[in-house]
């Protein structure tokens, strides 16, 4: 399978898989891919370029041949003793009758002894972000707009297509990393073992989170919401416990919606969702057109994480449930601000890992050579029909021309060109 194989070429590992028996080589996924990473080779879709796990391909595939992969295809019994960190998106998946606390209790009922609530951490993180922005305002030439580091697919886009924007990513650990760190330190204290020995199970709305986990090198397992949905739903209906596991206010719960992250942020900010819109905005940031904005929230899925590929319930219905939570739990911060300030000063929020750019393919040749290549691309493009039919196996004519120049495709795989050749034109090259 395609998973994991391209790491040697400097491409990131991805967690999207093509089932070659189901794929019939139609061009829909290739056309949908915002990174132009898919090619049709020998009648099957193959992921050849930088894949960011946005799952646009899986959403358009009419045969269900493309799937996201998660590590724990659930032998849940193995994980019961471990910490479980569900995304706050999970809370909205079970209809209006169940509150976040019920869902955490349901996880306990399923047998997970240590469910850790992420929504409270998001509130703390939101305040830390505000402190960081305040700090930056005092500096000369701050890297505004800061770009939210929460969506891992956005990070991959920036690392591969906009490496000059990496300095706009705040050096704070994401809420998920923070909650895992906290879970590790608490449980290691409890069990008297080193924090690295504590295994963590993430319940996530998308496979993109896997990338960050794989790079972190720890032994965490990741499972999609859909994989545990039925069992959790059954467990929630059988709760016989009344302890309180959920502490956050409404703002912490709203991070699943697009705009949830900036809702509690006291800064000039914009929220963008959807992969094409995100790329459009990043292009603008790169041109320096958005420097009057302080914070940019980008989410690859339309409507935010509620629209993630591993979710079960409809994104618009769950959005309404989250909005109800916000009304119910209120928008005031429930965190101890002085304590968070102290943590911030101690460097508790600092990200452990630096995000590195993804190496582009022709980095080794000189500007001369690259201009020459581009020139050949333009001249090939002149011969192509410009209908972007995708029959050659590349998503559009320009990409096909680039593939030909890079030696990845043969000029004769363009059916239109072949037709013209048959009609008497001669190809010399």
């Amino acid at each position: 399978m395609t998973t994991g194989e391209p790491a040697a070429r400097g491409l990131p590992v991805h967690y999207v898989e093509v089932d070659e028996d189901l794929c019939n080589g139609c061009v829909l996924c290739m056309k949908a891919c915002p990174m132009k990473a898919i090619r049709i080779r020998d009648g099957v879709a193959r992921i050849e370029g930088v894949c960011i796990d946005c799952m646009e391909c899986a959403r358009v595939c009419p045969r269900g041949a493309i799937r996201g992969v998660s590590t724990a295809e659930v032998e849940l019994e193995d994980h019961l003793e471990k910490a479980v960190c569900p995304t706050s998106v999970l809370y909205s998946q079970f209809g209006e009758d169940f509150l976040p606390n019920d869902i955490l209790l349901g996880l306990r009922k399923m047998g997970f002894r240590y469910p850790f609530d992420q929504s409270y951490t998001t509130e703390i993180y939101g305040f830390a972000m505000e402190l960081y922005i305040r700090e930056l305002r005092k500096t000369k030439n701050p890297p505004f707009p800061l770009i939210s580091a929460v969506c891992p697919a956005v990070i991959q886009i920036i690392a591969s297509r906009f490496p000059s924007l990496l300095k706009h990513i705040p050096p704070l650990a994401t809420p998920r990393e923070l909650v895992v760190r906290e879970a590790r330190s608490r449980l290691s204290e409890k069990h008297g073992c080193p924090p690295e020995d504590i295994d963590v199970l993430h319940i996530v709305p998308c496979p993109a989170i896997m990338i960050r986990e794989a790079e972190s090198g720890n032994r965490d397992r990741v499972v999609g919401i859909g994989s545990i949905y039925d069992r959790l739903k059954k467990a929630i209906q059988e709760i016989d416990d009344d302890r309180v596991l959920h502490y956050s206010g409404g703002l912490g719960l709203s991070w699943g919606i697009s705009g949830g992250e900036i809702a509690g942020l006291n800064a000039k900010s914009i929220a963008v969702s959807g992969v094409h819109e995100t790329i459009r905005y990043l292009e603008r940031v790169e041109m320096g057109l958005l420097s009057h904005i302080e914070f940019l929230e980008c989410r690859i899925c339309t409507e935010g994480c509620l629209g993630g590929p591993f979710t079960v319930a409809d994104r618009y219905q769950t959005k309404q449930i989250v909005q109800k939570y916000v009304r119910m739990y209120g928008v005031e911060r429930r965190i101890k601000q002085n304590y968070v300030m102290k943590l911030y000063k101690e460097g508790w929020f600092h990200a452990e890992r630096e995000i590195l750019p993804i190496r582009s393919e022709n980095i080794d040749c000189t500007v001369h050579e690259r201009i020459e290549r581009q020139k050949r691309v333009e001249s090939i493009l002149r011969m192509l029909p410009g209908q972007h039919c995708g029959m050659c196996g590349s998503p559009d004519c320009r990409t096909f021309a680039e593939d030909v120049v890079a030696g990845k495709a043969d000029l004769t795989s363009c059916t239109h060109l072949k037709q013209r050749l048959k009609n008497g034109a001669i190809l010399e090259s």
Binding site: R161, S164, R280, E283, R284, E286, M287, G288, L289, S360, N362, I363, V367, H368, R370, I371, E372, Q374, K375, R376, E378, S379, I380, R382, M383, R420, L421, A425, I426, L427, E428, S429
Partner: protein, 172 residues
């Protein structure tokens, strides 16, 4: 620099020198490689405004020019493009990339600029109020290009359209 004095710029060269008239033969690449592309700009099309400069930016990034230079070129392209969209009527942007120089030529068939010196003054604007409401037309377009480009030539006159030539030196 009033009056219409279009010199032989990119437009007069063979746009695709590598291709023979039959359209199928690729000639050997000359010693000094250069890439040319042309883009159309439609008047009052605020939905697609900015697309041309994004294309320009993508092209420069693909070739791997330094980010600072890429930003200077693309911001100039953006300002020129917005000028065409707001005032210019329909227009065209041509991009020429040489290893040591990038040239943008932007021409339109709009009303033209009566007093070029005045138009180059920061803050001077003839934008309509509705454009200013959208955040454009602060009178910084041409001055901004002048600031970013190594050389800017404005050829225009009342009723004659406008032709901008922007040159950017590529330092090795």
């Amino acid at each position: 620099m009033t009056g219409m004095a279009r010199h032989a710029g990119i437009a007069s060269r063979n746009p695709f020198p590598g291709v023979s008239p039959s359209g199928l033969r690729i000639e050997p690449v000359p010693l000094m490689p250069s890439v040319e592309r042309k883009f159309r700009i439609a008047a009052n099309d605020f939905v697609n405004a900015g697309e041309v400069s994004i294309e320009v930016q993508g092209m420069l990034k693909k070739i791997g020019f330094p980010p600072a230079l890429t930003r200077r070129v693309s911001i100039s392209a953006y300002e020129a493009e917005m000028n065409v969209v707001m005032h210019g009527g329909d227009g065209e942007m041509a991009l020429l990339i040489d290893p040591d120089e990038i040239v943008l030529e932007c021409s339109d068939n709009g009303p033209g600029i009566e007093d070029v010196e005045l138009a180059l003054t920061p803050g001077y604007s003839t934008a309509k109020p509705e454009h200013q409401e959208m955040g454009f037309g602060a009178g910084m377009g041409l001055p901004n290009i002048k600031k970013n480009a190594t050389e800017l030539v404005v050829e225009s006159g009342k009723g004659l359209g406008t032709h901008l030539t922007m040159r950017f030196e590529v330092k090795a």
